[in-house]
Symmetry: C2
Subunit: 310 residues, 2 copies
């Protein structure tokens, strides 16, 4: 009997217990899933990086700590965590992210906000937007999510530039990397999508200098991490109109405090961290596969490089 | 020298002259393009179905009448038109239609209108929409545009049902046809996209009976033809909430008269016939190819079946 500790909090237990039990059963794993086991007997820990469990030292026999979140910056520097750590790369999460980004990129591309404001006054003003093939979209971050999003946008015909820390290559996407590449990627970004992990190197990357490289009237969609952006610099760029609109799903502090200027700003759309929502049904199958791999001594999926931070 | 008459009106001449001349040049056609030629000497007529030229009998030597519109119901019954008639199937038009429909389907799927209304009040309410794979979208009409749209939606993961008059088959789309098939297609339509041609058989097809088959709270996107819908029946279905929202790009009368109830209705988004805007640059290449075919005696592209009406 494999002892699996669910350490992601009471509120999540409700949503995750049944999908996890089903996934273990389907994977042929005889798992004892619970919110408590004697610590030294735990074989695997399922956690959420900002969850209640922050001390992993008692789980001396655990083969792995399996995050149900994609972003692991809340746990990667935890010194009590000596076990292998995996991130969640949930096919449902990828699908949801593609839908969120594609929806909001098309919203800005087609000018849907303007349509909604203008469609009440009885005035017929046919204005045809450019085609996607004449619209530059840049995706910063070409991890599993960024790459999937970039490919979906390219599939709709957008001129997609992708940027990542280390050089990558992907069909139908102009791939750039490094500091020089970043400037060119920003210059091509009529619509900028942020899907970088949060690390020391990316924190505050989108500051006034970076915003200055964007074409005038650019749109920003940030379903990545709030701290990629310097809030004050973004507000200044919105004030001058250099950035036309920002659709933000992630924030330096979540929930976004009611007094934060993003809420009231007409140039900002706030969505409450829904783009990368993990769907328990599909994510549970990924957890079960990693438990199976851990038991069989096979390499784990989506193992975190603790040095790199993701 | 091939005499090509541009008979689509003065206003369009400005946008079309340069692209057409470039396309003829690129196709190696020695064309004399003008808004007037001696009628009996005209080799090809370029027209817009609701344009100023309605009498085609003087063009006794014309090898074809080439519409710059996709919809030809304004010309197909014209008894003076004895020449072969072609519709416009513009790759730019197809791309623009895919972008319009995908953008508005994702807008309804993600609940973007609700987000825009709610994003000002400082309240953090994470509500995750279902995945596209759990959302049924039905496309009525599987012509060039309908099929391209259905495939783009399937590519984003939506559960797509397509319906057409005669049976069709397409990968990743559940294809239905006939009266029985129509009922099933409507029942699956959490989001209904109308891309049927306007014919005697489709005029008023979306009446109260058809609307009654939709799931409660359905969305409608109509970039096809306005007269596919019985306006009064749609308004009644919006009133009860059975239809949650209709995004309409085409109308029985265009421009939509300022006093029409669609303008003010909170459940209706009016767009001014922009979804199927033909882009002169790409469409001119299609016209040039048909002139080349006509001169070479090859079959014309996108020939209209006058009996069928499209």
């Amino acid at each position: 009997m494999t002892k699996v500790l669910f350490a992601a909090g009471d509120a999540r237990w409700e949503d995750w217990q049944a999908p996890l039990e089903a996934a273990f059963r389907d994977a042929g794993i005889d798992a004892d899933l619970a919110q408590w086991h004697p610590p030294a007997e735990v074989d695997f820990v399922i956690c959420a990086p900002a969850g209640p469990h922050q001390d992993f030292s008692p789980y001396t026999g655990a083969r792995a700590v399996l995050s149900i979140w994609a972003g692991v910056e809340g746990i990667v520097d935890n010194d009590t965590l000596t076990q292998p750590l995996t991130r969640m790369v949930d096919p449902g999460l990828t699908a949801g992210m593609i839908e969120y980004v594609t929806g909001h990129v098309l919203r800005h591309h087609l000018g849907i906000d303007r349509t909604l404001r203008a469609s009440r006054d009885g005035a017929w003003r046919p204005e045809v937007p450019p085609l996607a093939s004449d619209r530059g979209v840049t995706v910063l971050g070409l991890g599993a999510l960024g790459l999937a999003v970039a490919q979906a946008l390219a599939g709709l015909g957008f001129r997609v530039t992708g940027w990542s820390r280390s050089a990558r290559d992907a069909p139908a996407i102009r791939c750039l990397s490094g500091a020089e590449g970043l400037r060119d990627a920003l210059r091509a970004a009529e619509i900028l999508v942020l899907l970088l992990p949060l690390t020391d190197a990316t924190e505050g990357l989108i500051d006034s200098a970076a915003l200055g490289h964007l074409p005038a009237g650019a749109f920003i969609v940030n379903p990545g991490r709030g701290a990629l952006i310097e809030d004050r610099d973004l507000l200044a760029a919105l004030e001058t109109g250099h950035v036309a609109h920002a659709t933000l799903d992630t924030f330096r502090q979540e929930p976004l405090p009611p007094e934060h200027p993003f809420w009231a700003h007409p140039g900002v759309t706030v969505t409450p961290h829904v783009a990368s929502a993990t769907r328990p049904a599909s994510a549970a199958r990924v957890i079960a596969e990693n438990v199976r791999r851990g038991l069989a001594g096979e390499p784990l999926l989506h193992l975190v490089d603790r040095e790199r931070g993701y």
